[in-house]
């Protein structure tokens, strides 16, 4: 399940949660904060749940007849998928509704029902995990602090982003822990790149705000929960924060480590594609053992 905040979807669009070379059944499903929570999950105006139930039951009973005629196992599978669709119609809006959460939970996260906010998405993530959703991905837009606008500045915009996220993300960890879920839930926090330690002066001009440019040589991510050693940091940059001086790891290492925490050996976990068995970590990656609990 995918949730986005910050007013925009991620840059890469749907490929950020696409299934890549895997069949599309493995693609993420976006839960939307405006409009219906999942595309087409809402019945048309004037059609309530009972009516939809009656209609799906009719479709399925006709399909049972068709199965008797043709004997196609796909028909049976389709019957099950229509039933599942109906179940989703009732359970998704329920999970997506945070208004019934107790006040102390809203206090903890800083959530206001009805808002599109990272905090709301953190709370939704917990609710989904509780319901057995296996992967939840939260995207938050607005961290591209080049200093070319107030909201895109380090001095104001970044500060705001931190205010919006700090409380919510700690609340999520606390909440998962108090429900006994943190030891079986892996929380990964990071972005696709970091920012330069020095200031960016776009076009050589003095800008109205401070900003930093994209930086890939050294940046930080954190992991918490399932299988990860707590209260511990790994790797080090030079004194400027420009280059890694020890414990340098790659995205493949991170992916290998995540797969390890999920119980997969990333070297054995393959899918045949383009004439060979592809790993999700391509031909790279080593589990970052020092960070494991």
């Amino acid at each position: 399940m995918v949730l986005a905040s910050g007013g925009k979807n991620p840059d890469a669009g749907k490929s950020a949660w696409g299934s890549g070379f895997l069949p599309s059944v493995y693609q993420g499903v976006q839960c939307r904060s405006a409009g219906e929570p999942v595309l087409f999950i809402q019945n048309p105006d004037g059609v309530n749940a009972d009516i939809r139930k009656a209609s799906i039951e009719t479709i399925n009973s006709v399909n049972e007849e068709t199965f008797k005629e043709f004997g196609d196992p796909e028909t049976v599978a389709r019957i099950a998928q229509y039933e599942m669709a109906y179940k989703m119609q009732s359970s998704v809006p329920e999970v997506m509704d945070i208004s019934k959460e107790p006040e102390y939970i809203h206090q903890l996260y800083g959530t206001k029902p009805g808002e599109e906010a990272f905090a709301n998405n953190c709370l939704l993530a917990r609710k989904m995990v509780e319901q057995g959703v296996r992967f939840v991905q939260l995207f938050d837009w607005g961290w591209d602090s080049h200093g070319t606008s107030k909201s895109g500045s380090v001095d104001w915009g970044l500060h705001q982003k931190c205010l919006e996220t700090d409380r919510a993300i700690s609340a999520l960890l606390i909440d998962l822990e108090q429900r006994g879920l943190l030891d079986e839930t892996l929380v990964v926090w990071g972005g696709e790149f970091g920012r330069t330690p020095m200031q960016e002066n776009r076009e050589g001009k003095t800008q109205d705000y401070f900003g930093r440019d994209h930086h890939t040589d050294a940046f930080t991510m954190w992991l918490a929960g399932g299988g990860i050693k707590p209260g511990f940091s790994f790797g080090e940059t030079d004194e400027l924060g420009y280059a890694t001086v020890n414990g340098k790891t790659s995205i493949y290492d991170l992916q290998a480590t995540i797969l390890h925490c999920l119980g997969f050996n990333h070297e054995e976990f393959t899918f045949p594609f383009q004439g060979r068995n592809f790993r999700l970590t391509d031909v790279y990656g080593k589990v970052i053992k020092p960070i494991l609990a």
Binding site: P44, E74, T75, G275
Partner: protein, 926 residues
């Protein structure tokens, strides 16, 4: 009588055995089918194209039989006991034992390898790389035909396809299914050939036609339908990775729909497949390319283009070239070629350097990852086309080379010199990595730009300040001799045309005359504008170019004046195309070590992998000719496999993208080769003829009812034991609903359209692009015309397994998910279609259901199904009769506005229609 015939058969059988016994020495082991799979699975990862542990590789014969690091060959033909290749399979020492640190081979595998070495380690070629031959038809002789004639055997076969199918079925202990009912067959045929289901009248026409060739008449009619091209183009769009945007982060708009229309028309014209490939790969290199030939080359301009600030054009130009190589191999040759970018192919005998020899065919086109997708064909407005024609009339008497240069300048405004050519910036930059921005006193250099003595300079630029900017151009260095001084006028924008829609900046075109300088020159450009502030740009430059010289025997002033007008004209629309670099712009291709463009190695000349051809092939046109030619073993096989998959749901080789040794083996190679041979030689590559041949087979016309036995022994219908019952693709599902509702607009071609789509789908940052719902009939066009944004495709496409079109997609792997059910149940498009369908009928209740079902599927509804739908109808009618508010909400009507007489009946009928559109009969082809 029967006894005599049987006796005859025995005699023939005896003679056959006798002949077989007489053939040469017999080998028990076949390399390709028995040995190679064991090697691929167990050995080649360490001893192949990627690694050669111990100096031993099994990829090529000479490597396998050659000396290893130990100084001796590992395989000694005829002597397994002396071959370490065999002995180490038995080794006890874990350091010696092969496969190294992996489970031992099975007894059978060891035996196969041992016998293979004993029999001389005969090498073999993978089946798909062997020349295409016309295989003999199994069990089809005068004898079996005679038997069929007198009713002694089934006589099921309609054409040769069926003999191949039946032979394979017999081997597997399977058999065919009886013919499908007329309505089921017609619905299948319509969906397969045109992508649309039949209408009521069309069902009736077929039902009423009792003639022997009634079915064939339908086939012929559909092959002539304009919708035929739309259906097959829609398949080709995935392969061509067609999209209406450029991809990557920005994913801005691209105008390339004329390519889609070219594909539609190619299928409709029954253009031979080899010519279709030739035009797409090399239309620009044909002797006198037409507009259509150029548009065809947009096939390889569907690669993504990265406009993000800070990205290096050369990196993404290279990425596009690599994609053209990989797509050419995957789509047209069914070969996974991508791995050869970094090292020799791990499994198939293709060498690392052969990748780059092949890349060299594509590495000399003029496109360079420019935001405006240069080079593009400019489709002129009538008056500009008229001017161009008048100049062409002058040019016709000129030498070919001059004509060509002028065509490139007038039609394409090429060869452009793009901003990324510049270096040695002083107080200036390649702003946003796209255009040149220079401040007062700043300068930059263009290294070794081809001027070739030309004297006419075009600058596409923009003066930034209120006063003119002066550009001093020097030869060689900053202190070199002055070539010229130019004035970029403030009134430039008014004075010169501003070609629209080329790139966002909207450059103004200005023409200058400069002294003639020979060959290639280093030029330094200095910018002066005293009126600009220190941190302000004097001017920005989008590109510049040298215009060809006007031939002296033409009236220079007139010719030049018209030429400049044409160059500055705003075209009606543009299409990105392939354009080969002029000689003086030629690129060299180098091997990339470990596949990285940052690590170039040796220079490479153009060539096809030795595995496929030893003949010299020197350019894209010859490459395309080789592809459709007799020597090529793959083109026809790959194509017929793809067409077969469209009709039967799975290819004869399931891995459409890979016919190499790692792909799945053909389930019926005789059939594949037969079809490929017929396609190439009998049908002369004409797709309609091939498709007719397939749909006329008895195999295609079988009923799709699955017997208990087939469900168990042939669950995936690989042996074609029944008709193909396949879920429709998203295009067909939406088009079908639109057709049934009467909303479908049947207009052919044109710019892509934006039908109804939920809000917020295109919520991309840094982009002003909006989904603006199309007007009128454009809301209800076939899905093929729906605007395709790569980062956010139309939701129904996403739910039903279409890709993103960032790269080619050989095969949509069908899934069956609840998201699909929600889509066809609740998407406003499907609801609207259901309502329009309901409105078409004045009858209600069971009458409506019976007639509706009959109209959709051409057959009467069963009693049970009718009872179920009718109960639902009654239930709905009762509910909505009592709940007027819901009724009006559903119909989106105000209480006093346009309310039909019996609104509850309309809602009940609409919901029944919605159910009908969702039942298995609708979601599948029968």
């Amino acid at each position: 009588m029967k006894a005599i015939i049987l006796f005859g058969a025995m005699i023939l059988g005896g003679i056959w055995t006798f002949f077989q016994m007489g053939s040469g020495p017999s080998y028990t082991i076949d390399y390709s089918t028995q040995v190679k799979p064991i090697l691929n699975k167990n050995c080649i990862a360490c001893h192949g194209g990627v690694k050669k542990q111990g100096g031993f590789s099994l990829l090529f014969q000479e490597e396998a039989l050659g000396k290893t690091k130990s100084g001796k060959p590992a395989i000694i033909p005829g002597q397994p006991e002396k071959s370490s290749f065999i002995q180490r399979l038995h080794a006890k020492n874990p350091e010696e034992k092969m496969p190294y640190q992996r489970p031992s081979l099975s007894k059978e595998e060891v035996e196969i390898l041992t016998t293979w070495v004993k029999e001389g380690a005969r090498w073999g070629e993978h089946w798909a790389y062997q020349p295409l031959k016309d295989p003999s038809i199994p069990n089809d002789n005068w004898w079996s035909r005679a038997l069929a004639f007198i009713g002694f055997n089934s006589g099921w076969e309609s054409n040769e396809i069926d003999y191949f199918v039946a032979a394979e079925q017999k081997k597997q202990g399977l058999s065919h299914t009886e013919k499908a009912s007329k309505p089921d067959l017609l619905r299948r045929l319509y969906l397969d050939l045109t992508g649309l289901p039949p209408t009521t009248a069309e069902y009736q026409e077929f039902e009423a036609d009792a003639s022997n060739n009634a079915y064939e008449k339908q086939v012929d009619k559909l092959l002539k339908s304009q919708h035929f091209g739309e259906k097959w183009a829609s398949m080709w769009m995935d392969l061509a990775r067609y999209a209406d945007t450029k991809g990557y982060e920005k994913d801005d708009a691209r105008t390339i729909w004329k390519y889609r229309d070219y594909v539609i028309s190619a299928f409709n014209q029954n253009k031979p497949y080899d010519l279709f490939l030739k035009e797409q790969l090399a239309g620009d290199l044909l002797p006198n390319p037409t507009e259509s030939d150029y548009i065809a080359t947009a096939f390889h301009r569907n690669t993504t283009n990265n406009d993000e600030g800070g990205t290096v054009d050369e990196e993404f130009r290279t990425a596009a070239i690599l994609d053209r190589v990989n797509t050419t191999w995957e789509v047209l040759q069914g070969t996974s070629f991508g791995c050869v970018q970094c090292h020799s192919h791990p499994y198939d005998p293709i060498r690392h350097e052969e990748y780059y020899k092949f890349m060299a065919f594509f590495n000399n086109s003029r496109d360079e990852d420019i935001p405006d997708d240069s080079p593009y064909y400019r489709h002129f407005k009538q008056q500009d086309q008229g001017k161009l024609d008048s100049l062409k009339a002058y040019l016709i008497s000129q030498p070919k080379q001059i004509q060509k240069e002028w065509t490139q300048a007038l039609r394409f405004v090429e060869p452009k010199i793009h901003p990324h050519w510049a270096d040695q910036f002083v107080n200036g930059a390649l702003a946003d990595n796209k255009y040149l921005a220079v401040r007062n006193g700043g300068s930059l250099r263009f290294k070794a730009v081809p001027l070739m003595g030309k004297t006419s300079l075009l600058i596409a630029g923009k003066n930034s300040g209120p006063a003119p900017t002066y550009i001093t151009i020097r030869q060689g260095t900053k202190t070199g001799p002055i070539v010229t001084r130019l004035k970029l006028d403030t009134t430039l924008q008014e004075k010169y045309a501003k070609p629209k829609g080329l790139w966002s900046k909207g450059w103004a075109y200005a023409f200058y005359t400069i002294p003639s300088l020979p060959g290639k020159q280093d030029l330094v450009w200095e910018f002066k504008n005293a009126k600009t502030k220190p941190d302000q740009n004097t001017a920005s430059i989008g590109f510049w170019m040298m215009i060809p010289e006007v031939p002296a025997d033409l009236k220079p002033t007139d010719f030049q004046k018209i030429a400049y007008q044409i160059i500055s004209a705003s075209p009606e629309t543009t299409t990105p195309v392939m354009l080969e670099n002029p000689t003086e712009f030629t690129r060299t291709t180098r091997l990339f070590k470990r596949g990285s463009w940052l690590n170039p190695g040796e220079e490479m000349t153009r060539g096809i992998p030795a595995l496929f051809s030893k003949k010299p092939v020197s350019n894209r046109l010859e490459l395309a000719e080789w592809m459709g030619g007799k020597e090529n073993p793959l083109t026809a096989r790959v194509a017929v496999n793809r067409f077969w998959e469209q009709l039967f749901g799975t290819g004869i080789v399931e891995t459409l993208e890979d016919m190499g040794s790692q792909g799945l083996a053909p389930v019926n190679q005789g059939l594949l080769d037969h079809l490929a041979y017929q396609f190439q030689y009998k049908f002369k590559y004409q797709t309609k003829d091939l498709l007719k041949y397939i749909v006329m087979s008895a195999s295609y016309q079988q009923s799709s009812i699955i017997s208990e036995k087939d469900r168990e022994k042939d669950p995936n219908n690989r042996y074609v034991t029944r008709g193909p019952r396949i879920r429709l693709n998203p295009e067909q599902l939406r088009d079908q609903a639109l057709l049934w509702s009467g909303l479908l607009a049947t207009k052919l071609g044109g710019a892509s359209v934006m039908p109804d789509q939920p809000d917020g789908i295109w919520n991309a940052p840094y982009s002003g692009m909006q989904w603006e719902k199309s007007d009128g009939e454009d809301q209800w066009r076939r899905s093929l015309y729906t605007y395709w944004r790569r980062s956010s495709p139309y939701p129904t496409m996403v739910s039903f397994d279409a890709g993103t079109r960032d790269v080619c997609l050989s095969r949509r792997i069908r899934t069956n998910t609840p998201m699909q059910a929600l889509n066809t149940l609740n998407d406003p498009v499907f609801i609207e279609a259901s309502q329009f369908f309901a409105r078409k009928y004045s009858i209600t209740g069971a009458e409506f259901i019976k007639k509706g079902y009959l109209d959709l599927f051409g057959k009467p509804i069963s009693e049970n199904k009718l009872a179920k739908l009718n109960a639902f109808y009654a239930n709905m009618l009762a509910y909505y009769s009592k709940n007027n508010k819901e009724t009006l909400a559903f119909l989106k009507l105000c209480p006093d506005n346009n309310v039909p007489k019996d609104p509850a009946i309309l809602v009940a009928k609409t919901l029944v229609a919605n159910a009908l559109f969702n039942i298995d009969e609708s979601i599948n082809k029968p």
